[in-house]
């Protein structure tokens, strides 16, 4: 999960950088990646929650 968040930070930084240098294709790629990362984060969260529920019985 921390790794996902790290990727978010990196992608956001790349988006802003690419935008500054007017490389709009790159902006779209990283913005898309950033949006795609959110379901991944959600999936990890759900998986962890379910593991815990099972553990608690």
């Amino acid at each position: 999960m921390s790794f996902v968040l790290l990727l978010h930070i990196v992608f956001t930084q790349q988006v802003v950088n690419a935008f500054f240098y007017e490389q709009y294709g790159k902006v779209l790629v990283f913005a898309g990646l950033n949006v795609l990362m959110f379901p991944v984060a959600l999936w990890i969260y759900r998986r962890e929650r379910n593991v815990r529920d099972e553990g608690e019985g």
Partner: protein, 182 residues
């Protein structure tokens, strides 16, 4: 015997429940559940969502530019008359906005170069040094090649943004800013 039956109190008047010497009874555990594994992960997922949403406006603006690649238009501005500058001279001007200071250098009779003169290191103003034949940033001794705008020495690593020029009717005009690719 009497002493043991009495409720024990420490120096601050707090009750000492057990006759123990490790003093763990005064550790408050009431807020323990506020930072358990699940809420931590929930916070992380929420932060991920914030990141995802925060990049959407950037993406939207970028998509707009990609779909409609209207080239930014710049005003045409007269900088100097040809006979007002000798070869090796430089003048300062602002273009396109009033805070975008720039430098026009006459290299030879027909060769002019103009760059935004904010150093790409820490935005110090860059000057034209006729003796050194280079653009000099006095703050940290950054040097730029006057023909290309590329840095040749010192801390700057990116070139100066170049301004497009045209020479018409005996005067130099600024017509635009070159697309910055670095």
């Amino acid at each position: 015997m009497m002493e043991q039956d009495q409720e024990k109190r420490d120096r601050n008047g707090s009750r000492v429940p057990y006759d123990e010497d490790n003093y763990t009874h005064n550790i408050r555990k009431d807020n323990e559940r506020n930072l358990d594994r699940r809420s931590f992960l929930k916070t992380m997922a929420g932060a991920a969502g914030v990141f995802a949403i925060s990049t959407l406006p950037w993406g939207a603006i970028a998509a707009k530019y990609l779909v409609n690649p209207s080239k930014r238009t710049y005003p045409v501005k007269k900088l100097a008359a040809l006979d007002a500058m000798k070869a090796g001279d430089a003048i300062e001007f602002v273009y396109p906005g009033e805070h975008d200071t720039a430098l026009l250098v006459r290299l030879s009779d027909q060769e002019f170069k103009a760059y935004h003169n904010a150093c790409t290191h820490l935005k110090c103003p860059v000057f034209w040094s006729k003796e050194k034949d280079e653009l000099v940033c006095p703050c940290h001794h950054g040097l730029f090649d006057v023909h290309t705008g590329k840095p040749t020495a010192g801390p700057p690593r990116r070139p100066l943004p170049e301004i497009e020029l045209s020479i018409e009717n005996g005067a130099v005009y600024a017509t635009g800013v070159k697309r910055y690719e670095a």
